[in-house]
Structures are given as C-alpha cells and as structure tokens.
Symmetry: C2
Subunit: 511 residues, 2 copies
C-alpha cells in the first residue's frame, strides 16, 4: 500500500539523482514553470517506455510511424477548431492585475474539487461573486469579466510575416491528419490505416503544476487509426476474438457520483453498444493490457473514465481517459482515448478546399475516414512508474520498477579496491556492456552504500566481485527487492541476468 | 562518380517513397517553407543514425545524455548573446515591401558565390547601389536600409506575460550550459565532463531552401565537452595516442583561395598548434572517423573547413565546419565544431549573478570550464546519405546505402501467390522479425517489380521463396548492389543475414 507523501519523496529523489528537474531554475530562479530537463536516468527510462510501445503497439499493429514538425501553419488550427475552442477561462484582479484560471481560483478558494468544466461564464461569475472570492495575491474582490485565454503558442514565420501565421502544435494529431492523404498514397494504404507519432507538444498552461503532470512542453505517444465508418469491424472482428472475455474497467458517466468501477467484458461492451464498435473496443483492451501487463500498473489502479459533455474535447464523439490512481494524486489521466469521427478531416477539407476523401475498395463510395485516437502522455507515465515503484523500509529506499524498465539494469562492484578485484569487476562490466546490458561500474564508498545508491534508482541486479571470485570464478548477484544474494559463475552471468531482468525470473530459480 | 542532377532525383524519390516531404503542403499549398515530415522510411534511417552515434560516441566517450526543453527563458539568450548576435541582414523593397536576405540578394542578382559574411552594412549597401541591384519581385531599385532580423522565435509564456519572455532554442547548447552545474553535481562529475543532447532546434530562416539542408525546424546531435582550460590534455593525451598518425583533412584559412585540402596528422596538428590541444584534436579525429568509417562517407568527400573572422559564430575562438562534397550541392556543412571557451558560462554567470565556477580537484583554483562542441546536423547527414547512395543503371535505380543503415533490412517475397509459397514466405518473414531484423513482406506484382521497389529504398537483401524452397528448404538471397543471388538454407538465414547486413560480408562468402 502506497502512503501519502510519496509524491514529495519521488520529486526529491528524481531531482537529486537526475531523473528530471525543472528547466533553467538552477541558474535563473524566475524561469517560467512547466518545463523540465530529463537527466540520463530519466531519459533512458523514457526511451525504454517508447521502445516497449513500439514493440507492443507500433510494430504488431502495423502502425506507420511518422514525424511531423512542431510548428504548423495557423490555418491547420483554424481547421481543427483549436483557434476557437482550445482555451482556458481567465479572470484578472482589477487592483493588482494578477490573472487566474477561473476553475482553479474557485476550487482553491472554496476548497472544493468539483467539475466546473460544464459551467457558463455567467454561472462561474455568479459563484465568484456570491462566495465573495478574493484575489489570492492582494485580497481585492474586484474582478474583470471572464476572458478566453488560448493555450497555443503562435509564431510569425518568415521575414515578411507581420502577424502570427503558425503555431506550436498542442497535439501531434493535426500533423497526422494533414499528412493522412499523402501518407495513405505513399504507403499504398488501405483502411483501417494507422499513423503513429512520438513527439513534443506545447500548451501555454496558466497554472503548470505537479512536476511532470501538468507541463507546458511535454511528450506524447499518439496512435491515429483512420477507418471506414461504414465498416469499422472488418479487421478488428478477428483481432478482438481472443479478448472477448477480457474485462475492461470503466467509470461510466452514470457512476460518476458513486465512483463505482464497472468491469465490462469486451463482449458486453459491444453488445450493449457502450464501446461502439470492434475497432474501438480492441484498442481499449489493447491499451489496458499494455499499461497493466507491459508497463506494470496494477489493474485495480487503472480505469477508463467516460467523459461527459463539457469535459469532452471539442472534437470528440466519445471520449475516455485512461487514468491511474495514487494515494497522493488521486486519479490522473495517462491516455486520452477519443473517437474524433471525421471532425478533423472535414475541417481541413472545408478550410483548404481540397478533397480529402478516399474511395471504397469497390470504387462505389467516396467518404472521409473516421479517426480513433489513443494518445499517451509519456511524461505522466514515467512519473507514475516512479510513484508506484517507490518503497521505503527504515533507512532503505528502493524503486521497485519492472526490472526491464530500470535505467541501469546491472551494477558491478569490486568488494574492495585491492587484490585485483577492481580489474576483475571492470572486466565483467565490459563483458556485460558488450552483451547488451545497461551496466554501471562503481568502486567508491562501502559496499552497503553502493547497494543503497543502486536501490534508490531501481537497479534490479548488483554483481559483486569478492575474494571467492578470485578463487572460483563466481560472483554474488543481489536482488534489489528481496536483497537476497546468490552465487553465479561469471560465464553464466549473461544468460542468468537475461532471465532475471527481462523474463522476471525469481533469483532463487537462477541456481 | 556522382552526376549532377542527383539532388532532384533524390528529392523526388524521397517524397514519392515516404522518406520525407514538405510539411502541410499536400493540403495547404501556401504553408511556410522549411518544415518537413519524416515518413516511416526516413524516420527509421534517422533513428539508426542516432543509434550509431550513441553506440560510437555517447557510450564509449562517457557522455551524459540529457534532454532540455525546446522553450527556454529569454534571459538565457540574452546571456548567450543570441539576442544580440543571432540575426541575418535584411533589406526591404520600398515599392512592393518584399524582404530579402542581403547576402542572398547580392549573390543571386550578380550570380556570384562569394563570402559576404565579413562585410559591414555600408559595404553591402554600396554593392547593391553600385550594381543597380533590382527587387526580384517588382524590379524597383528603391531599397530601405539594411536591418537586423533576429532568427529566434520568441514567445510569451504564461497568462501574465505581455511581452516575449522565452524563445525556441536555436541550438541545444544553451540547455546544456544552463544545466551544467546541476548535472555536474547530480552525476558526481569531474572534468572533462561531457553532456550530449539529441533535439530539435528552430531558426526563423529568411530563405529556407534545398530540402533538408536549410530548414526552420531541424534536429541536432550535440556533444558538449566541458574541460579545465589549464589542463585540457589529462585524459585525452592517452585517448589520442593510438591516432597520432591519423590524417585529418583540413581546408585551412590560408588555402581558402586554392581550395587545397591539407592532410595533417593528429601529431602535426598538435605540434604546429593548429588543432590547439589533445582534447580538440581527439574529437576532430573521432568525428572524421565516425563519418567515414561508420556513416560511410568517402574520405575524399570530407574536410574540416576552418572558419575565419566574420564567418565564425560570435562565441567561437576556433571553429571548423566538417563538410561533405557532392557534385550537386558542393561542400555542405554537416558538423559545427566550435571551441566556445568559457564564453557561454561566463555570460550566464554575469546575467544571472550565480557563481558557475567549479573547483579544481586540489581545491586551489576556482574557474569556469571551457566548452568544445561538435554539433551534428542530423537532417543534413540523412540527406547526404541518400545523395551519396543514389545509383542508376538504365531503368534500375538503387540506393547503395551502408547495409546497416537501410530502413528496411530484408524483404521476403513468395515467387508466386500459390503452392504454399505465400504461407512459407510469411513464416520466414515472422521468423526474421523475431530475430530482430527490420523485415518487409510483399506479394503484389511481378518479382522483378518487387525487387525494383526494394532497390529504390536501399533494402540490401531480398529473400525469395520459390518452388525449390518447398522441396529442399532453401531460399534465394539477392544482393541489392550486384543483383547476385545465392541459395541459403532457411535455418541458416538469420546468421548469414547478420554477417551480410551488419558485418558487410560479400554475398559469395556466405556460401
């Protein structure tokens, strides 16, 4: 059971050991919030999550991975509706001119955690006035009216541009949608046709907060499934077959009050119409399985929260957030799963005047494909991996990460700095590197201290060269979680480490 | 020998087969230039180049790879000098208000390719007036004065920002410099201390051009070596030892007129003082070797061009561009190699008021480390890989890429769509995937057409299942470059493909 307080400990540990830390703050204290640096450990973990996603989602699902730029023409966001709809509501203190996000101001002033997203400007203003909400900075009760604050960063590209003509993308989706036709032709595509992107996105958040949870620049792993709305099941009927009894965990709109999570099999989702079609049902299953079985999040901490009017994005017909629960942060969205219909493609067709329709295989119909999009917030995933892995027992702190996700896979230590132990240990270290392991060599400080340093960053295996090594060619192999040690022959180390780290074998079964 | 005209053919091929293409143009014809999409093949090649760089540079050189955000506080660029120095000179036609980069206007109007970077505004204006240079758009000779046009995109971050307070980075360097102290502490660093970054950079180029060569958003692989200026040789004396007779190819400032390339051994570079110290000499050797031996660029097409006053960046004491030659594009910079001294750190120390000095190991000196930076333009490298790989012979077009750089490593075909051949071929395809190869299955069109499609994207090996396969369990293996074929037993395929693709073995030696 995770205790409250883990959040602060994880942030402290991550900053101190170089997983991540706030950008520029070490030198420029007043640097804008919401930007983070990844240090070597965090970066390697992030790369591992991306690799697992490619291995489990991109390759087996036939996703065409592309990379579109961060800067896109403003027209793209006119067509996508972001210029009109992608904003937060802002209010300004008339006395000190501080600005606040309206929902946050109300929530924090009244100490409530209600959903205010569906309320109109008038209703929000009424709450502020009736409750006499004061400016948190100067105490004044005099407010301007509520204004829209667009969350996109706009830019003037080129020497002749007097006004912004481009923007930093707030999602990678529009890149895929704008390049859909070109990609579809180039790759001899047929529907369902799937694009994928790993990329940065940018949002001018009014109140960035909670470390990697709400940032102004962050990374997404996005899948864009384009399909024939009249025939969404063709491929997916067969693909879903093995998972018809798999239970998907939902918080439905009608259970919002009680918080009751319903476990619905894929079959029930389809039969009741709740999960719409085979294609969407398959992806809901796939992502819950990916987060549970590959990324290691316990099932009881996962749920798909159905979004309701006012919460749903402007483009979505159906919308579930895949959320994870921690005692400190409550339920936090990790994946935005949106059925966007042909909203985006038809917007671009209208604004550009270009025909973006495709022709059915029999040549009889021209139509706009529909789009289903599961979009992972990579930084949040990494942060929750750390939150859920954090363990302490007295002085000892360790990260019980899935072993294959650890940024350092195996550390090699000489017990002492003499009798040829360092040389032997370095030899083993180099051998493990050449065998493809992410290895780390350390000879400074007591052996206990070196173990603790590795525990703290989640290194699953520590190999120690001691006196016996010099005699019989065996080393000790220590398990991060149980602290148990076994002796292993050096030449058997790579194979045993592979089954320990990548196949999750128990350390006792290595003997 | 490469012929002129390759450039256009490569751009056409890359666009048609999905290596890369201009962003948004398929739908929005007027989208700003200088932004590109990578399709699956280009993206995979790019990832391979990054992997090779990590394997050959980052890991063996002990580089700490970090990732800093694209958006940094404006203060950072005040300190780095980019706000003051990072601009192009611009001139505007008084009649039609078109704007032009002054050097480009002069070069293109007069048909010269001279270096104008050292000239003052007055000297440039004189050339324009004396030669009666006209506006290329409307023909007017009336010009405004020469203005500075800053190449950075600035941004207002946060709801209260009325003016820009941040910018998209024009290089990843400043992120590393600002995080130097924090990284150094976190990673228990000692000098020389090396940071590395893979990341996007953004420059508001007035005239983006030549496909991936001059873009507004592009990617860099940067190495930032921080070292003690009083002791630059400690580690590198030993590291350089094996390469003292290695010949580095320079175009020195005094040979600029004749274009003569001097081959200087590392020893000569040190003895004459030309390459300054062991550290810089080592990195010059390492990068020439990396481009030649790993990325496959012929030595005779590589040179380090020494930059002279006026060309050098504002921060550089010494500066060489590692360039590559093609008949179409001439010499093009691939790597910016700059000895930046303590220019950057001292700027940040001044502007921030924070002490960024480190202490010498003996505790006697406090000093600012110096910075040497080799910075690779990733997109240009990829583009030149394609340029140099392009081959044609009658109708046949192929990319003679280093085999391990090919985006598809092996294609598997059934000779015909019958007699169990497709099933057998798919089985082999899946086996190769599970063995870690990037494989591709194709059964549509004649076998000749399928070979041509693979030749065109540089696939080094094609495996074909034919009648004989069904009888004796052998397949044909075809070499992209020679079109020779050998028969290989299916169970030996993975091992033989490995030596063919990754070890460069001749196809005949596989027998």
């Amino acid at each position: 059971m995770k205790m409250k307080g883990t959040y602060d400990k994880v942030v402290e540990l991550a900053t101190r050991r170089g997983f991540f830390w706030p950008s520029s703050r070490d030198v420029y204290a007043g640097a804008p919030a919401g930007f983070y640096v990844y240090g070597p450990l965090g970066l390697r973990m992030k790369e591992k999550i991306v690799s697992l996603w490619r291995r489990e989602v991109v390759f087996p699902e036939g996703v065409h991975e592309i990379e579109t730029p961060n800067i896109l023409p403003l027209k793209v966001f006119e067509a996508s509706g972001h210029l009109e709809h992608f904003f937060d509501k802002l209010i300004e203190c008339k006395r000190c001119h501080s600005r606040f996000r309206v929902d946050k101001l109300i929530e924090e002033s009244l100490g409530i955690e209600e959903n205010l997203e569906g309320l109109s400007d008038e209703e929000l203003m009424k709450i502020i006035v009736e409750n006499g909400i004061k400016c948190p900075k100067c105490g004044s009760k005099e407010w301007t009216g509520i204004k829209k604050f667009n969350l996109m960063f706009t830019l003037a590209v080129g020497a002749e541009a007097e006004e912004p003509n481009a923007a930093l993308r707030p999602e990678t989706t529009q890149g895929s949608v704008v390049e859909f036709r070109k990609s579809y032709m180039t790759m001899r595509g047929k529907l369902p046709f799937i694009l994928g992107q790993v990329g940065r996105v940018f949002r001018n958040e009014i109140s960035p907060r909670r470390a990697l949870i709400r940032m102004r620049e962050f990374q997404q792993l996005e899948i864009h499934v384009f399909f024939d709305p009249d025939n969404p099941d063709e491929v997916y009927r067969e693909k879903l077959e093995p998972y018809m009894d798999y239970k998907i965990r939902f918080l439905r709109r009608e259970d919002r009050e009680t918080g009751r999570i319903v476990e619905m099999t894929a079959r029930e989702g389809l039969e009741t119409g709740y999960t719409i079609n085979h294609l969407i049902t398959y992806w809901l299953v796939l992502y819950q399985k990916f987060f549970n079985e590959v990324l290691g999040f316990p099932l009881e901490r996962l749920r798909y929260r159905e979004l309701i009017e006012g919460e749903k994005a402007h483009y979505a017909l159906a919308h579930w957030d895949l959320e994870v629960y921690t005692e400190d942060l409550g339920w936090v969205e990790l994946v935005n799963n949106a059925y966007r219909t042909d909203y985006d493609l038809s917007g671009h067709m209208k604004v550009s005047g270009n025909d973006l329709r495709v022709t059915s295989p029999d040549g009889k119909r021209k139509f706009l494909p529909h789009l289903y999009e599961p979009s992972i917030g990579l930084d949040r995933v990494l942060f929750h991996e750390l939150m859920l892995a954090y363990r302490e027992d007295g002085e000892r702190v360790w990260l019980q990460l899935p072993r294959y996700l650890a940024p350092i896979e195996v550390a090699v230590f000489p017990l002492m700095k003499k009798d040829g132990m360092p040389e032997k240990a370095k030899e083993i270290y180099r051998m493990l590197i050449s065998e493809g392991f992410i290895a780390f060599y350390d000879e400074s400080g007591t052996i206990g201290r070196r173990y603790r340093r590795m525990d703290e960053v989640g290194t699953p295996a520590c190999v120690t060269v001691d006196h016996q090594t010099m005699e019989d060619g065996t080393v000790t192999l220590r398990d991060r979680d149980t602290m148990e040690q076994v002796r292993v022959r050096i030449e058997e180390l790579p194979a045993k480490l592979r089954s320990f780290i990548y196949e999750g074998k128990d350390i006792k079964d290595l003997l």
